[in-house]
């Protein structure tokens, strides 16, 4: 298992850079992962990441559709906040595993 250092903290990640131990995540760490992805985090980013983390911790599957039902932001905004591959980027920055879903 690989390790990476963010904000002076060593964290466990897989070969794609996703956290294998989500409890090691902090908001300070998120800022640095986001920087690698070329994203500057705002309140909206944190709000949707909190939603994703809660959903993951609750054992629920993450899908693009769930974002629309999150009550936090709509999908269009989600694509703007995390340009390119939003669900992959958002989960990476939120310190949770990459979603294993086709939707």
């Amino acid at each position: 298992m690989a390790q990476k250092t963010y904000a002076d903290v060593k964290v466990d990640v897989n070969e794609e850079g996703y956290f294998t131990n989500p409890s090691q995540w902090t908001k300070e760490i998120a800022v640095e992962i986001a920087k690698e992805e070329g994203i500057v985090l705002t309140g909206q980013h944190y709000a949707i990441m909190e939603f994703l983390r809660n959903r993951f911790n609750g054992g629920e599957a993450l899908s693009i559709r769930s974002i629309n039902h999150s009550g936090v932001i709509d999908v269009k905004t989600f694509y703007q906040l995390f340009p390119g591959a939003p669900l992959k980027k958002a989960t990476k920055i939120a310190g949770i595993p990459k979603p294993a879903s086709c939707v």
Binding site: I64, S66, K76, Y79, S101, V103
Partner: protein
């Protein structure tokens, strides 16, 4: 993963209107958008039902002449059962229920998601003429009605693929 010749754009063609044909296109298209790829979804012939306002959420799956169809429990469904009134509606209802469990949305909502991510929806000129459809019959997400030539024009580019579902 670094790829030498990554796919950058997909243009999907949907020419059939059954649940499984339409969803193959929608899932591939939405998946492309989620991966950050450019996606064009082109609907033609019976695939037009998927972008026709009053039909898109009422798609059915064929129960006659579908040898892969199984009854709950795994036994093959005899084709003759398919002619029982209500069988097609029941099977379609079951399919939609199973998809809902996987968080796969109804067609109208799927089009919302795809276009929210920048995916484009197109209708085929020949099919529009043939089925005597008007632009207002079609989903508001349909950006244009295209000829074949126009479709090929927008499907081109480096790392571009055309997929016929």
């Amino acid at each position: 993963m670094e790829q030498k010749f990554p796919i950058k754009k997909v243009s999907l063609i949907c020419a059939k209107g059954s649940i499984e044909d339409v969803y193959a296109t929608l899932i591939l298209g939405n998946g492309a958008v989620m991966e950050g790829l450019e996606a064009n979804l082109f609907f033609t012939f019976f695939g037009m039902d998927a972008i026709t306002k009053n039909r898109m959420d009422k798609l059915h799956t064929g129960v006659v002449g579908n040898p892969a169809l199984r009854l709950p429990g795994g036994m093959r469904m005899p084709t003759l059962l398919g002619i029982i009134p209500g069988m097609e509606a029941f099977t379609s209802w079951m399919m939609k229920g199973q998809m809902e469990k996987l968080d796969i949305p109804p067609v109208s909502e799927f089009l919302d998601l795809i276009t929210a991510g920048g995916g484009k929806i197109y209708a085929c000129k020949t099919a529009v003429d043939m089925f005597k459809l008007k632009k207002e019959d079609l989903s508001d997400h349909v950006s244009r009605i295209l000829t074949v030539g126009e479709f090929y024009e927008l499907a081109g580019g480096e790392g571009a693929q055309i997929i016929f579902t």
